[in-house]
Symmetry: C2
Subunit: 352 residues, 2 copies
Amino acid sequence: MDFVARLGLSIPLIQAPMAGTSTPALAAEVCNAGALGSLALGAIGPEEARRQIADLRGQTDRPFNLNLFVHEAPRTDLAREQAWLDALAPAFAAFGASPPPALETIYQSFAGSAEMLDVVLEARPAVVSFHFGLPDSRAIAALKAAGCLLLGSVTSLAEAELSLAAGIDVVVAQGWEAGGHRGLFDPDAADDRLGTLALTRLLARWGKLPVIAAGGIMDGAGIRAALDLGAVATQLGTAFVACPESSADAGYRALLASDAALHTTMTRAISGRPARCLANRFTQLGERADLPPVPDYPRTYHAGKALNAAAKAQGEPLYGAQWAGQGAPLSRPMAAAELVALLAAELALTRP
Amino acid sequence: MDFVARLGLSIPLIQAPMAGTSTPALAAEVCNAGALGSLALGAIGPEEARRQIADLRGQTDRPFNLNLFVHEAPRTDLAREQAWLDALAPAFAAFGASPPPALETIYQSFAGSAEMLDVVLEARPAVVSFHFGLPDSRAIAALKAAGCLLLGSVTSLAEAELSLAAGIDVVVAQGWEAGGHRGLFDPDAADDRLGTLALTRLLARWGKLPVIAAGGIMDGAGIRAALDLGAVATQLGTAFVACPESSADAGYRALLASDAALHTTMTRAISGRPARCLANRFTQLGERADLPPVPDYPRTYHAGKALNAAAKAQGEPLYGAQWAGQGAPLSRPMAAAELVALLAAELALTRP
């Protein structure tokens, strides 16, 4: 498939959805600059999704991507959750706060959500992408009938094979380097932790679906490397965090711009699912050997967000979900349109 | 530095040293085919090193690389070691065997080894490479005076900076994907687990030393990707394991050629240092939650090799140090010279 031609892109580049950090303005700027912008609908409800899609449509006529979280419904294990809240209580207390009395499912999975499916079908975006798993066959059929190109994030050949069987059009090979939530279908299964280079090449040699490479790519040289591995395009997230159009707060931007960017780590402690984060006080807490088992995603995230809010209110920025990939030290703060133009120029330079 | 021109190579490719798996015949075939062959001296003594170097010299006039392990001297912690041997005893018993009565330091580090330094200075190889750390300034000065180009394996920017300060000429960026022993200078320090793509690009953008990319690279597309990232050359190990010239045994070859190659894991249980291995019964054992702390490298390896010998004697191949990188599923068994020629042809095809 000629992914770039089908979408009329001028560069084989997707701005990663980045729930919590992307904005309609970011996606619009990326689209207008010739790449594929993405809106993350995974952590918001149908009403807010409609609002953001309208906002984006008001700023661009170009194709865009809507991203959905397709995780299994979380188990509600009250004993486990209470133990987790108890373990976090001293961290809350340090900021004069208390944990929430109980964890809540702060947002719903796209799996089985008729309401969110309606939102997406109404919007008829050029591209719909899935993270954490795949929707049922009825949803996939409906989205394909609406003309959407379907992308599925995978971390292994096994997940790519499931995606092929489900009718997904393109796989996003999410390497170990990638920032934010790791797309594992089952976060409790063994994870081979395949790096971007190995996973991209493995899936390209498999050859049954087009591959988009994601994880650690920050510049034109990285994009060219991914194309040479056989990818049809690339997905960059961390590169866009420092754009003024993202919703990253000052603490997140400062950490990303510092030497701290050299150190990222995979943690489950913030949200309940493995996610790559700049090493901070929350990831340190998550490494404590005496912690009880982490409750399910996204219920754990309820406490994670509350702890960050309590810390931030006291001027402590280092409890945030400061997601970043291993390429973080190569972040370059500039307007999104400028960044897309720079990436295109760098990519062009790699072919004399 | 034009690494390839300096060594007169016809392809930017080093055959990784692979202690225990490489042979003089493998290195010679690689050299004669236009790449840089390597002999691993890390796990053998000076006498055997002299023998292997002579063997290699008898088969090629081309430049080659001698690789040395520069780990800190292991601590001898008898209580910890006895607990480890006790924990392995049931696994030995399953094969009618017993653990060794005590662990021994089965080979010496190059650090401070005047005898091995003499061997290398006599040999005056075109290239000397270091793993696990760096030798002292006297050894480095002597090797440079002998005309050797010095390569240091690094897994992070911090290790690259130490290498620069020590006078190393070229860093080998060993990504998380790489098979065999991870080159961490301090195996007990925090490891950012940087993937090959992220680490190679980070060090290329740093720009203070030429970079050789290693980890997950299996074919011409992978080599081209590494060059795109700014590497001057690549180092491939797993790609050469299945060559008839390697000393890999039948069990290792069979596992590498099977679907088991999809799963590799980092384990300390075999040798005492983290190393990437095909998932097998030994790596499974290493994941048991009830294991006591692992003794130091290479003393742990004494028991690891003994357990493999006991298992193999009973027809069980799955306790071997079956090192492999994440690119293992892309292994192609063929003669080393044929593989080098194929890689060169594939690489040439990537530039139309």
